[in-house]
């Protein structure tokens, strides 16, 4: 732009947007309203509507509006590593200004035929994940958790243990305590130099959250594609991101669909999650997100749409029988595990995993039988004993063992509690593993 376009007459102000008459504005371009960052979200004839990220408090009908002529960008370079930034990609760590190439956020989609099939195992040591819901690089998967569950702690554990060249944290509506928790964890773990954090805390304006995932993805694409690195993106909490989308849609007079969410929620979320990719050159973007639930309700539009987009979901659940948080084996799923289990891991992996879960389901049935006051038969009792051990040794989130150890533990549980014909496993594996004596390390 050769000259700055400045306007001083705003015709319409809502809590999140303002509208004015302006010429030559472009959809998606950034502007400043009273010095506050805003983005063009609609142009109809000369009426330009801006979403003001910080909210419109203090905007008057005579406020100054300056159009920048370009959409939001991030300055990408290796200097991003170790930095803490806000939703606009500006440092909040007191460090120097970012330098590097300015890249438009919300970049183009990867041509699907240029993608590679994600098939590199991403081990976490947590058996509820590695055994039952094995992850691969290039996958996108959220934790579904109630607000009272330790989702950020588990997320941080996964990040620290997973093999990644860069960890990019997108914090949306993060409590200041959790922000400091992540900061501490990364510092103590000695991984600060391979992390980039985009932070919007609950103290910041909610609409600024809208930029966080796109910023994180743009940084990730730089490292994964330009530098061919393995990048892990952590996004927490996507429910708060969706809430911000709903605010804007509402102020735009859009007709809400289910649960007051905008009709475009699916596409909006997909545009973020689909940034996960395995490139042929070895670089990859893996996204692990958090979607908080209301009392476990997954039919709400946010987890529901997320579930349709992501490649599975990991459910956290409090198991009262063992007094620990476990990864729920029924409702959790990793869609891409088929690419690695039994192929990159031991060949009995799929069958052992399924047998254990099926028998755990029998235990749940037995439990409800008991709760309804019925006598349990001998099989029911065995199932319930098994379930407790299974939960303690394999489902709890504090487990940290190798996949080999998980499988051996599985076999030993099967042998302890069941007969051969009850486990429904292919003969060839039974022959190999049923009689094998192996000492299990606890």
């Amino acid at each position: 732009m050769a000259f700055k376009r400045i306007y001083t007459k705003i015709s319409n102000i809502t809590k999140a947007t303002c509208t004015l008459k302006a010429e030559g504005a472009r959809y998606g371009e950034l502007a400043k309203v009273n010095g506050m960052p805003a983005q063009v979200i609609s142009v109809v004839d000369e009426d330009v509507t801006l979403q003001v990220f910080s909210g419109t408090e203090g905007v008057s009908s005579y406020s100054e509006v300056v159009f920048t002529g370009s959409p939001p960008t991030l300055k990408v370079s290796d200097l991003l590593a170790g930095r803490f930034l806000n939703g606009y990609g500006e440092p909040i760590d007191g460090g120097s200004e970012l330098r590097g190439e300015s890249r438009m956020i919300k970049g183009n989609a990867v041509n699907p035929i240029k993608r590679s099939s994600p098939s590199t195992l991403l081990a976490t040591g947590i058996a509820g994940i590695d055994l039952n819901n094995t992850l691969v690089t290039g996958q996108k998967i959220p934790f579904f958790a109630n607000p009272d569950q330790p989702y950020n702690e588990v997320l941080a554990d996964v990040a620290m243990r997973a093999e990644a060249d860069k960890i990019i944290l997108g914090g949306m509506g993060l409590s200041n305590d959790d922000y400091l928790f992540f900061k501490n964890k990364f510092t103590k773990g000695g991984v600060l130099n391979k992390t980039v954090c985009f932070i919007n805390t609950s103290e910041n304006p909610p609409l600024e959250r809208l930029l966080i995932p796109d910023m994180a993805c743009t940084a990730a694409e730089y490292f994964a594609n330009d530098q061919k690195q393995k990048v892990l993106i952590l996004l927490t909490d996507m429910t708060l991101y969706a809430d911000a989308l709903a605010i804007v849609a509402n102020k735009m007079d859009q007709i809400p669909s289910k649960d007051s969410m905008p009709g475009s929620l699916y596409s909006d979320l997909a545009s973020i999650y689909e940034k996960s990719v395995q490139f042929a050159h070895g670089g990859s973007i893996t996204i692990i997100a958090v979607t908080t639930l209301n009392e476990g309700d997954i039919t709400h539009a946010i987890p529901d749409n997320t579930g349709y987009i992501t490649e599975g979901q990991l459910f956290l659940k409090q198991d009262p029988d063992i007094g620990k948080v476990i990864i729920d084996p029924f409702r959790s799923l990793s869609r891409l595990k088929q690419n690695v289990i039994g192929k990159k891991t031991r060949s009995d992996h799929p069958q052992v995993m399924n047998a254990l879960i099926r028998l755990y389901a029998d235990a749940v049935n037995a439990k409800s039988k008991k709760e309804n006051g019925f006598d349990l038969n001998e099989y029911d009792k065995r199932c319930m004993d098994f379930a407790k051990e299974y939960s303690r040794k394999l489902l709890a989130v504090d487990v940290n063992i190798s996949i080999e150890q998980m499988l051996d533990t599985g076999w030993s549980l099967l042998k302890t509690y069941f007969k051969k014909y009850e486990v429904g496993i292919k003969e060839e594996f039974l022959e190999k593993y049923w009689n094998e004596e192996k000492t299990i390390k606890a």
Binding site: G24, A25, R26, Y27, G28, S42, V43, V44, P71, M104, K106, G107, N108, A109, V110, N111, P112, I113, R115, S116, S117, P118, I255, P256, S257, K258, G263, S264, Y266, S267, A270, S271, E274, K275, F279, T299, H300, A301, D304, G307, I309, E311, R331, L333, R335, L336, P350, R358, A361, S368, K369, N372, F374, D375, N377, E378, Y379, Y421, E422, E427
Partner: protein, 588 residues
């Protein structure tokens, strides 16, 4: 050509001030700095035109020039479609440069530089009409018919036709003359608007023959017919996509169209990598040779989702007109409906239920009705079978897309969360699901003739056993194991056996993933033999133990190659286990 200029942008809705006449659904091109972006006219109000852009609108400036093309969205039809990977607008993805899809990048759908061996089928002087076969070329292993362009009306005389030989797709292979003497040059390529059905056939008849999918719960219990329609609704995580891919891999069809509409990119990547290595159960060639993939994944332009399903259907109809058996799979039709909703909302139309546009049921009905079994003018038969998945919000089937689809699709494969949670895959609910073809007398007749006498009646009986078993289970869980008669336990375990041995199928096991109809017949008869047999037990715990053993043997059979020594060994074991009970070896 009429012109216009951009006056407004809201996401992918573009407002244009038009100079001159504009047609509803016509394609217009919006000029940006170095590209022309495609958009479709969806509303005209005086000189003000609303158009949906098939791209990101970030690069569009106000006042930009717009060209109205006067044409609706069309596909190019000709040899070279098979094995291609298209985006929602039939751009060949393989021809695109770069890792990322640049805004406005277009590529030709067919290959202009490939020679095809042409064999004439029509004679000079012959009278022909739209859709008649003029010649044939080899496309992979398929005899691809070069037809009289579908757009031609009335009858024509073949003025000349080229000799057998190799030609490029744009070479003139025949010249036709109309009744008034107008000469028309025919190449191997023609264009057709996607939203219009290709209907050059003689008649469409009721589907009457089973389309084999290799999946027992479908073929045996709820068969889909050639030229039929089906839909698969299910909450996320219940295995819609795995199921659809299993159908794609194992079905006995000539041509396969896969439309990945607004779904995950990694799922198409899986198809890209797997299909060239998989063997087609019909021909023994690789699967990708008979497959075209139209992918508009969830991060690709939303407006092109609608285009993608229509492109897929039109390509399917094109191959049907060659007398081929075509299966088209669309995953997921809900994403298309959502795209319609996003646009309707931006246009500020009054919404129907759940904010979907009110015309949604009509749009869906119209689309499903393009499937069908057709007799062509030359007496050959072709079919388009359509199976769509539906992703109901919240897993609740009482939502507009599922409900609208239920009114038009003849087969219903309900995926159940409960079954998926218990890892009972495929998670198709055996009782809630149905196939209306089982009620078609012509279908029953064909099953009698080609499978076995009384087949459909036996299938119904099997469903009764399942139903009885589920009722018995409910009673057992209400009253307790001891408080119900032994019969209840037997009924329950018979249904469990059917579940484990027939309904459940391992789509990741090389043997179990595909069950031929012959094998299904054998196993079904075995299972029904047990299902209809009387057994003697003295206490309920014996029932479970006994049936678990049978189930284990039946599962081992499912994992063994049909008629192998291993298979026969298990068949014998099964026989012995059954006999054991008969002889009363079980005692109190």
């Amino acid at each position: 050509m009429n012109l216009g200029k951009v006056t407004g942008v809201i996401s992918n809705l573009i407002f244009i001030e038009a100079h001159g006449a504009v047609t509803q659904n016509e394609i217009c091109l919006i000029h940006t700095e170095n590209k022309k972006l495609m958009a479709e006219v969806i509303r005209v109000t005086g000189t003000r035109v609303s158009a949906q852009l098939f791209e990101s609108s970030m690069t569009i400036k106000m006042g930009s020039r717009v060209d109205f093309t006067g044409k609706m969205l069309e596909v190019e039809l000709g040899p070279g479609i098979l094995s291609k990977k298209y985006d929602g607008l039939q751009n060949d993805l393989a021809k695109m440069s770069g890792l990322f899809i640049d805004i406005g990048q277009t590529t030709p759908p067919l290959d202009n530089d490939v020679y095809y061996g042409f064999t004439p089928l029509a004679q000079e002087g012959e009278t022909v009409q739209a859709g008649d076969w003029l010649g044939s070329v080899k496309e992979n292993w398929i005899d691809h018919k070069i037809m009289v362009p579908f757009k031609l009306e009335g009858t024509y005389t073949v003025e000349s036709i080229v000799k057998k030989g190799d030609y490029l797709i744009n070479d003139v292979v025949a010249v036709l003359s109309s009744e008034v003497g107008e000469k028309i040059e025919v190449t191997m390529v023609q264009k057709w608007p996607v939203k219009r059905a290709i209907n050059t056939f003689k008649q469409k008849v009721r589907p009457n023959t089973i389309l084999q999918t290799g999946l027992r719960v479908i073929d045996t219990l709820n068969p889909i017919a050639e030229g039929g329609t089906g839909y698969i609704p299910g909450p996320f995580g219940t295995g819609k996509t795995v199921l659809q891919q299993a159908i794609a891999k194992n079905s006995k069809t000539d041509v396969l169209m896969i439309v990945a509409c607004g779904e995950r990119a990694n799922e198409v990547v899986e198809i890209f990598t797997e299909f060239p290595q998989l063997t087609d159960p019909v021909t023994g060639r690789t699967l990708d040779e008979k497959t075209t993939i139209i992918c508009n994944t969830s991060n690709m332009p939303v407006a092109a989702r609608e285009a993608s399903v229509y492109v897929g259907m039109t390509l399917a109809e094109y191959y049907r007109a060659m007398g081929l058996k075509v299966l088209i799979l669309a995953d997921s039709t809900s994403r298309w409906a959502q795209a319609l909703r996003e646009m309707s909302n931006r246009m500020e139309e009054l919404p129907g239920p759940d904010a979907f546009p009110v015309e949604l049921p009509a749009v869906i009905a119209n689309f499903y009705s393009r499937a069908g079994l057709t007799e062509l003018n030359n007496g050959a038969w072709g079919s388009v079978t359509f199976i769509g998945t539906v992703s109901p919000a919240g897993g609740n089937f009482k939502e507009p897309v599922t409900e609208s689809t239920s009114k038009v699709a003849r087969c219903f494969y309900a995926l159940s969360q409960k079954r998926a949670d218990a890892k009972r895959y495929p998670a198709i609910d055996p009782i809630a699901s149905y196939s209306k073809y089982l009620d078609y007398p012509e279908f029953v007749d064909n099953a009698d003739k080609f499978i076995q006498e009384g087949w459909v009646a036996k299938v119904q009986k099997c469903k009764d056993i399942i139903r009885n078993g589920l009722e018995a289970r409910d009673q057992i869980s209400i009253l307790g194991d001891d408080a119900v008669p032994l019969d209840y336990h037997i009924a329950f375990w018979k249904s469990e056996m059917i579940d484990f041995a027939l309904i459940q199928q391992d789509s990741f096991d090389d043997v179990d993933m595909n069950t031929s109809l012959e094998r299904q017949k054998y196993m079904f008869n075995k299972i029904m033999e047990i299902g209809e047999r009387e057994f003697v037990f003295f206490e309920f715990e014996q029932v479970g133990t006994f049936f678990k053993q049978l189930i284990n043997i039946l599962k081992q059979m499912n994992y063994s190659p049909f008629d192998s020594a291993q298979f026969k060994k298990y068949a014998k074991e099964l026989e012995m286990a059954i006999q054991k009970n008969k002889e009363g070896t079980l005692t109190e």
